[in-house]
Amino acid sequence: MGAVARLRRRLGERVFWTLFTVVNLTLFFVGWELFARSGVVSSLFLPEPTRMWTALVDEFSRGDLWGHLGYSARNFAIGVLLAIVIGVPLGLAAGSNRLFYRLLSPYIWGMSSVPRIAWLPLLILIFGFSEMSKLILIFISAVFPMIINGLAGVKTVDRTLLTAGKVFGAKWRHRYVMIVLPHALPYIVSGFKQGMTRALAAVVVSEMFGGSQGIGFVIVMAGQRFNVALLYALLVFIVLAALVIVAVVDRLERRLAPWRTQVAI
């Protein structure tokens, strides 16, 4: 550890840990490649990263992967937007009005405690294998984090700030806009993050379960055709998509709420 510690001091914390991660990931993929080539594990279960890469490139150039991705992205966007437009105001209202909260809360807590994917059979029963069932599943998956975070944002506002607002003559409407909403904003953004991660899962599942389009469908097909390299490549692709979503929302959060010194998990 001595040499490593010395290197860490020489390079400084930031550079050192970036370098550490780069080396870490490189070794990981090189190790994977070598291990897979050695043939200890059947290549049916563990394809080499290089083969995954060619499979993905192949699918992009030959197959209709762009079309499938576009379809998934569109469903994702519609479902998430609907969830934001409906979930955030609902959460804020429930946080602000006691009666409304009491009226709504059994259904919010009850419905949000159903494992989200379990809605799918019901949706298929009602709407068939249509786009509607997909969109509703995505919407249901994304909307509860938006509602619950909006609610929490309003409920956790510091009472003394509201008192200060009152003392300085702010009317109810002003206190809401200038104190409650700014306080709730980081909560709402973290609701976005949770909601979008869940929506991504819903997109994939809804396409896996009936349907003939989207990345979920491609994954199922790859599995059925024993195209393991493509299957792995698609999984890596989804991981990257998820990481991009999280990174974008994190950046949004830093942008919108620069006073927040720490980011909650």
């Binding site: 059994p106 405690s113 059979p121 619950i148």
Partner: protein, 257 residues
């Protein structure tokens, strides 16, 4: 009236949900709601009753429960120690966390085709999916628990002569305990999703399978019945964890919202 609500808040909720169910019943029996899609609550409960009395529901519940418990137990065994070490050691953290975060942000349901390919339609495939769903939230929370230990508590421990091992067991672990619990909580709801998805795709048993069968045979009352069972099961687990949390970390003020 308002006073009564305030003294017994549950009364309001009971009245609220009761009204909702009555309204539904009325709309269903009046034929406003199609009973193919929205069966009357009484039909749903009758279906559940029959399922329990003939015993076929118990088989599926038993299968689900067994896989769920094994999967969640394994997840805890793997994730809690690893997460606690990750939080305490910067090098282990940097080594493992890219993979943990990557896999944690992946919708685990996308792994179903791969698991089926490798393990077939077996319990092993189901349990694997449950573990892959639950293990990362637990790990990440444990890590956060160790990382957010109040520095002044560590200093206090050192001042009073605690050795490194004692610091870990007397200061770090207790203050990480609520995080561990909330990690297990999150892991649990992920595990339930993993379970249902695995059963929907990959078996002939369990509540997820039952829902797919109900959907294919247009048995809406059974479908709603299973959904209700899932709500009850999930809320039961949440309540158990709440009790456990009150036990393990009674100094924590609960109910943030």
């Amino acid at each position: 009236m308002a006073g009564a609500w305030r003294r017994a808040p549950w009364l309001f909720s009971v009245a609220n949900v009761g009204t909702f169910l009555l309204l539904w019943q009325w709309l269903a029996s009046a034929g406003v709601l199609s009973d193919l899609f929205f069966p009357a609550p009484t039909a749903v409960f009758a279906e559940l009753w029959e399922g329990f009395s003939t015993g076929f529901l118990w088989v599926h519940i038993g299968s689900s429960f067994q896989n769920f418990t094994i999967g969640l137990g394994l997840s805890c065994l793997i994730a809690i120690p690893l997460g606690l070490v990750m939080g305490a050691n910067r090098y282990v953290d940097a080594l493992v966390s890219p993979y943990v975060w990557a896999l944690a942000s992946m919708p685990s349901v996308a792994l179903v085709p791969l698991l089926v390919l490798m393990l077939g339609f077996t319990d092993a495939a189901k349990i694997s999916l449950i573990v892959l769903s639950a293990v990362f939230p637990i790990m990440i929370n444990c890590m956060a628990g160790v990382k957010t230990v109040d520095k002044s508590l560590l200093t206090a421990g050192q001042v009073f002569g605690a050795k490194k091992r004692q610091l870990y067991s007397r200061v770090v672990l207790p203050s990480a305990a609520p995080f561990v619990i909330s990690g297990v909580n999150q892991g649990m709801s992920q595990a339930l999703i993993g379970l249902v998805v695995a059963e929907m795709f990959a078996t002939r048993q369990g509540l997820g399978y039952l829902m797919v069968r109900a959907q294919e045979s247009f048995n809406a009352p059974l479908l709603y019945g299973v959904l209700i069972l899932l709500v009850v099961i999930s809320l039961t687990f949440v309540e158990i964890m709440r009790r456990l949390e009150a036990r393990v970390a009674p100094w924590q003020t609960l109910d943030g919202i």
